[in-house]
């Protein structure tokens, strides 16, 4: 569907010139239902979608609401749905997009106002996997929990998560199953599951916890989360590795 829409659009905007944005608007106190408003703006070289939205808010419509903070793809607060894909507005160049540029809030999240969505359910999902360090015992030497470079390398792939919610928004099982933690939470669980400093007991307990009937086995292996992650993380691969490990544990029934 997205591909068809893309092909019907015009060529991307030039580095400097004009761009047209179709922005999702909904102010619960004023609007009966959501609608789209079209804005035309002057672009500049290097302009991101977030720059464009801020420009609209500053120059055309001060009621436009968008959540943002660091503007450098570190805080994850401005994840939105741009031309049919979950992206960070601050990390998406206007010049790379076909026009008109559709900007909507993250699908499957409740809309608070305009492009701002309710993140509490997402944070609850994250917390459900106990995303904090739980060592079995005190550090062996000194005051630090030392980690081997090899082990650190194992979790490198998932450490960059910025909790933007793009992956969870793209995940089909997470949309219909509120007990499924979703890709971001499971990638976070993987980060601690693979951390050698936690110890064998905690590792086993984490794996058992993730093995509920609405846990890791709910992943459809669609790789939607992997495709949209702005940090290049592959939650699907992390989930599959944990699923394989859990089944391997079961297959060693004689131990």
């Amino acid at each position: 569907m997205a591909t068809t829409q893309e092909t019907q659009r015009s060529e991307p905007a030039t580095a400097e010139g004009k761009a047209e944005l179709d922005v999702f608007r909904y102010i619960p106190e004023e609007d009966d239902e959501p609608h789209t408003e079209t804005y035309e703006i002057e672009t500049f070289e290097g302009m991101t979608v977030l720059d464009a939205l801020i420009k609209i808010r500053d120059e055309q419509d001060s009621s436009l609401t968008v959540r943002h903070s660091c503007r450098m793809a570190r805080c994850g607060s401005d994840a939105v749905y741009i031309n049919g894909t979950q992206r960070l507005a601050c990390n998406t160049q206007v010049s790379e997009l076909s026009q008109p540029i559709d900007v909507e809030p993250l699908p499957r999240f409740d809309v608070i106002r305009d492009l701002v969505v309710e993140m509490n359910e997402f944070y609850d999902r994250m917390e459900s996997v106990e995303p904090w360090f739980q060592p079995d015992h005190e550090p062996e030497t000194g005051e630090e929990y030392l980690q081997s470079p090899e082990n650190r390398k194992n979790i490198d792939t998932v450490l960059d998560c910025i909790w933007c919610g793009a992956c969870t928004s793209s995940c089909s099982p997470a949309a219909t199953d509120s007990d499924f933690p979703g890709p971001a939470a499971l990638a976070k669980a993987y980060r601690f599951y693979k951390d050698e400093r936690e110890g064998e007991e905690t590792r086993k307990r984490r794996l058992e916890m993730l093995e509920s009937s609405h846990g890791i086995y709910r992943c459809h292996t669609q790789f939607n989360c992997t495709e949209v992650c702005p940090k290049g993380i592959s939650p699907t691969e992390a989930i599959m590795e944990m699923s394989r490990d859990a089944v391997k544990e079961k297959l060693r029934f004689w131990r």
């Binding site: 933690p181 058992e208 916890m209 093995e211 509920s212 709910r218």
Partner: protein, 145 residues
């Protein structure tokens, strides 16, 4: 998640879903090769089906030309029963999973689960009964030739 009980069966079911998925690729490949490329769907009769199931004799002159394969009977029968079992498990467990992912059906989790167990068992038994019907004296009931 942390408040949910670990499941003893979820892992096994996930594993079996994958095993049967791979198995189906192989078994369906065999099924299509025999029924559609060697025998030909239009040429399938009760008579040559009885030959295949009871004697493992695969004969046909279709897309792949004239071919005769004399498989050990037990091997052909094993592929037929495996195809039945794998399809029932893979299909039914897949649909059951999709239903269980719907929050709106959460209240009916147990009835749905037991329905699928009973329905899957019934499908398998029905398939076995059809399979047995090709053996004497069952096949005579159908007067295949």
């Amino acid at each position: 998640m942390s408040t949910q009980k670990p499941s003893k069966t979820a892992g096994w079911n996930w594993f079996l879903q994958r095993v049967t998925g791979v198995g189906l690729v192989v078994l369906l490949g065999f099924h299509f090769a025999v029924e559609h490329f060697i025998v030909g769907a239009a040429n399938v009769t009760a008579g040559n089906t009885v030959e295949r199931i009871t004697n493992g004799l695969i004969q046909g002159d279709h897309v792949l030309g004239q071919i005769t394969i004399n498989m050990p009977a037990f091997l052909y029968q094993a592929t037929a029963i495996s195809l039945l079992g794998f399809s029932v498990f893979h299909g039914m467990y897949g649909v059951y999973n999709v239903l269980m992912e719907q929050d709106t059906l959460r209240a009916y989790e147990k009835p749905i689960k037991y329905f699928f167990i009973v329905f899957s068992a019934a499908l398998f038994v029905q398939g076995i009964l059809i399979f047995l019907a090709f053996f004497e004296p069952f096949w005579q009931v159908y007067d295949p030739r």
